[in-house]
Amino acid sequence: MTARVGVITFPGSLDDRDAARAVRLAGAEPVPLWHAATELREVDAVILPGGFSYGDYLRAGAIARFAPLMERLADAARGGMPVLGICNGFQVLCESHLLPGALTRNASLHFVCRAQRLRVENAKTDWTRSYEEGQEIVIPIKNIDGCFIADPETLEELESSGRVVARYVDVNPNGSLADIAGICNEAGNVVGLMPHPEHAVEALTGPSSEGLGFFTSVVQRMVSA
């Protein structure tokens, strides 16, 4: 049976179709989910895609967090369902307190779009098991509110429990604390990532196809589960 991976569309989501494409390329079935729905449509995993939900007005992710579907998602996430928040999706997860910390304005105050080198620090999460620990990959980053911050205790907790999933290498594009590009919850099923793996799934349109691993990881987990 193919894994069913839901992709939520909020008003202002931009990378929902791209995330669905990546899911398909990874061999799973993308299932569109509407923010105002109240059912998760029996999906095995969920992606919160990039974009500017509600225009990123107020704060990135602040309004999307209150979408009806988010309540269901929060329950499912606490129950162990794999959830990946990419860029705006990461912001929504932080605003929902499903992940700690916050994403604030880039240190440069500019939107930054570039092919970014990352190091996968934790290859045990539901979304990174296709990678090796320490593996370096190049995938796009594109955001203006990508600077990850957390208080010192939270940071210490993330570091000591191996919950930093990926770190920027060479350049820290947004001023994130400790070069953090992505983190996960304690159980490792909820991952937030600033860069965009769904834009690195085909060499033709991305800087590499090294982002595909995030999507094959969750498929692998479904198969092995």
Binding site: G12, Y54, V112, I144, H199, L204, T205
Partner: protein
């Protein structure tokens, strides 16, 4: 209930009946940019003086910006000299041209200027420039798939350039990024002549099925007219005539005209909403609201349809309830569209708008009266034949004359420049060129633009042309924009041709077959015979070159009055060329990315 003096005192509405009774009442047509002759023409058309609402409509529709009154006689050449092309599905005259690219796909693209607003308020000016061109593409029935921006700024070290450049780039990026449109290319040129006249030309390209082409027309009496998108506020009131058509001088800068402010989030909702509306075939006609807002949409839709329309202006949703009808008619509030919908489909249309949180209101209906009639507070305030405003504006044959200084300028050739002769000097020259702002790396700008979104970008900055995949591939399109004001200043005929051939080569260099041309013609005041000569020459040059190359002009835009005092900018035709790739996997990049390849130089 009796109220004593609590109602604000407001001037009475100028109704059609009142206009007939008071033929001699004075209206401020001159302030609205209309001359005596034009005003007299309106009176002849109506057989009476216009109401103030009617004057609002005529003044914006007959402004240079909307009516092309100075350029029209020249632009005809594009049509007259157009090479035959089977690919052309919609030519000049619609919101944007459409070309058939094969395999059941069509592409629509167009470039437009937002120069003056971008000087007054760079962020919002540039942002709303992107927003406007995207709605043009949307209104053809297409899904917008990419944007490009062609920019000109003053000298890099001029004090104002930083403000303008920073704001414009943030605006282009802020709007396009939020809309989810990859920015796949453009230009940035610095030249002192653009100091107080920056150029912001934005291009959008969209993809559709040929059978899904939509038109700006209101046929079928009884069909409902729906205004949807953002509310109407006092944005850029008078902007179309004051901002875009009047010479930019100290006085208008002092006046701080009300600028348009964009809401890209609303435009994203509007886009997705339109996609679903088109997929269910719910409209018989559609038009975006740009400059001249409701005036433009109602007159153009009505004129291109059965010919009549009744509109109740009280139904227009207002952001500011104190707006007068004239202001409602002239408001340039962004992110609005107007659709013509069969009565049976209205409910579904409104349902889809609701799903996307897009306000939508039925404000009128199509009629067969041949008249555009509008009421406000129960009174008729507009009653005109819509075509007279939309299509029958004044046409001027402005005098033109070769600039007197041109011989001298042309004589000042490169042979007078010192040549580097020693290795040292050569080295210095190379270093100087590499460091010149016009040649230097532009990634400080392009890194602020999302080029990956939608996942179809095959080539973008720094390649010669942007290439995007369409459908599921392997088909794709390539687009490049180019323009060189210095060449055009020396010889506008050849300059326009050089711009075209550069864009054409850039598209071809990716491996694409060039198919169609769009253009944005940025010039000084058409009232200056020297400028008018430059304009005529550039159009002629472009039309001739298009004929030779066998590619039709499918649309474009003219921006006049780019001048400071009496000094015009260098004439700057910016040309966009669209090409098609049968297989994007075979695209050619600019980088030498395979070892051992031979390097050949073609041409002389």
């Amino acid at each position: 209930m009796t109220t004593y003096g609590t109602e604000p005192v407001r001037p009475a509405v100028d109704t059609v009946a009142r206009a007939a009774e008071t033929p001699d009442a004075a209206l401020p047509y001159a302030e609205l940019g209309m001359n005596d002759e034009e005003y007299a023409r309106v009176q002849r058309i109506l057989g009476r003086r216009p109401t103030s609402a009617e004057l609002a409509i005529y003044s914006v529709m007959w402004s240079e910006h909307c009516s092309y009154k100075s350029s029209r006689v020249h632009l005809r050449k594009f049509g007259e000299k157009a090479p035959h092309s089977d690919a052309l599905l919609v030519g000049m005259g619609e919101n944007a041209g459409v070309v058939d690219v094969g395999n059941g796909w069509a592409v629509t693209f167009k470039i437009e200027s937002h120069n003056h607003p971008s000087y007054v308020e760079p962020y919002q000016g540039a942002a709303t420039g992107v927003g406007g061109i995207v709605r043009d593409i949307l209104s053809m029935g297409a899904r917008p798939v990419a944007v490009m921006d062609s920019l000109r700024f003053g000298a890099p070290d001029a004090p104002d350039t930083r403000r303008v450049l920073d704001g414009v780039v943030r605006g282009v990026g802020g709007y396009g990024n939020c809309l989810g449109l990859p920015n796949i290319g453009g230009e940035i040129v610095f030249d002192a002549c653009y100091g107080a006249n920056p150029l912001v030309n934005a291009l959008c390209v969209g993809v559709l099925k040929p059978e899904g082409i939509k038109r700006a027309t209101a046929p079928g009496p009884g069909n409902q007219v729906i205004l949807f998108g953002a509310g109407t506020g006092p944005d850029g009131i008078g902007g179309a005539s004051v901002l875009a058509s009047a010479t930019f001088d100290e006085a208008s800068h002092q006046k701080r005209p009300s600028v348009q402010v964009g809401d890209p989030f609303m435009e994203k909702l509007l886009t997705e909403c339109c996609m679903e509306i088109f997929a269910e075939d719910l409209v018989v006609g559609i038009q975006d609201l740009g400059a001249a807002g409701v005036s433009c949409a109602t007159t153009e839709l009505a004129a291109a349809g059965t010919g009549g329309m009744d509109v109740n202006l009280d139904l227009v949703p207002l952001r500011d309830p104190t707006l007068r009808p004239e202001e409602i008619l002239m408001s340039e509030s962004q992110e609005r569209m107007m659709a013509v919908v069969e009565p049976a489909k209205v409910a579904r249309f409104l349902e889809l708008c609701k799903r996307w949180d897009v306000p939508a209101t039925v404000i009128g209906a199509v009629t067969d009266t041949g008249r555009l009639r509008m009421t406000w507070r129960g009174e008729t305030i507009v009653d005109i034949p819509p075509g007279t405003a939309a299509d029958e504006g004044p046409v001027y044959e402005r005098p033109y004359e070769r600039p007197a200084d041109l011989d001298q300028l042309q004589a000042d050739g490169p042979d007078r420049l010192p040549r580097p002769s020693t290795p040292e000097q050569l080295r210095d020259t190379v270093m100087w060129l590499a460091g010149a702002p016009n040649l230097a790396d532009k990634s400080f700008v392009t890194s602020q633009y999302d080029k990956y979104v939608q996942g179809n970008t095959v080539l973008a900055m720094p390649d010669d042309a942007g290439v995007v995949r369409i459908g599921d591939g392997p088909q794709g399109i390539a687009i490049a924009t180019d323009g060189n004001g210095r060449y055009a200043r020396l010889d506008p005929y050849a300059g326009a041709q050089l711009a075209l051939s550069e864009a054409y080569r850039n598209v071809a260099a990716t491996g694409a077959r060039p198919l169609a041309v769009t253009n944005c013609l940025n010039f000084g005041s058409p009232e200056d015979p020297g400028v008018m000569w430059q304009f005529a020459q550039a159009v002629e040059g472009l039309a001739d070159a298009c004929q030779t190359l066998g590619v039709p002009v499918t649309g474009g835009n003219v921006s006049f009055y780019n001048q400071t005092g009496t000094t015009p900018i260098n004439p700057t035709p910016v040309i966009g060329v669209l090409g098609v790739h049968d297989d994007v996997t075979r695209r050619i990049q600019i980088s030498f990315n395979v070892e051992g390849m031979s390097l050949l130089l073609l041409g002389e």
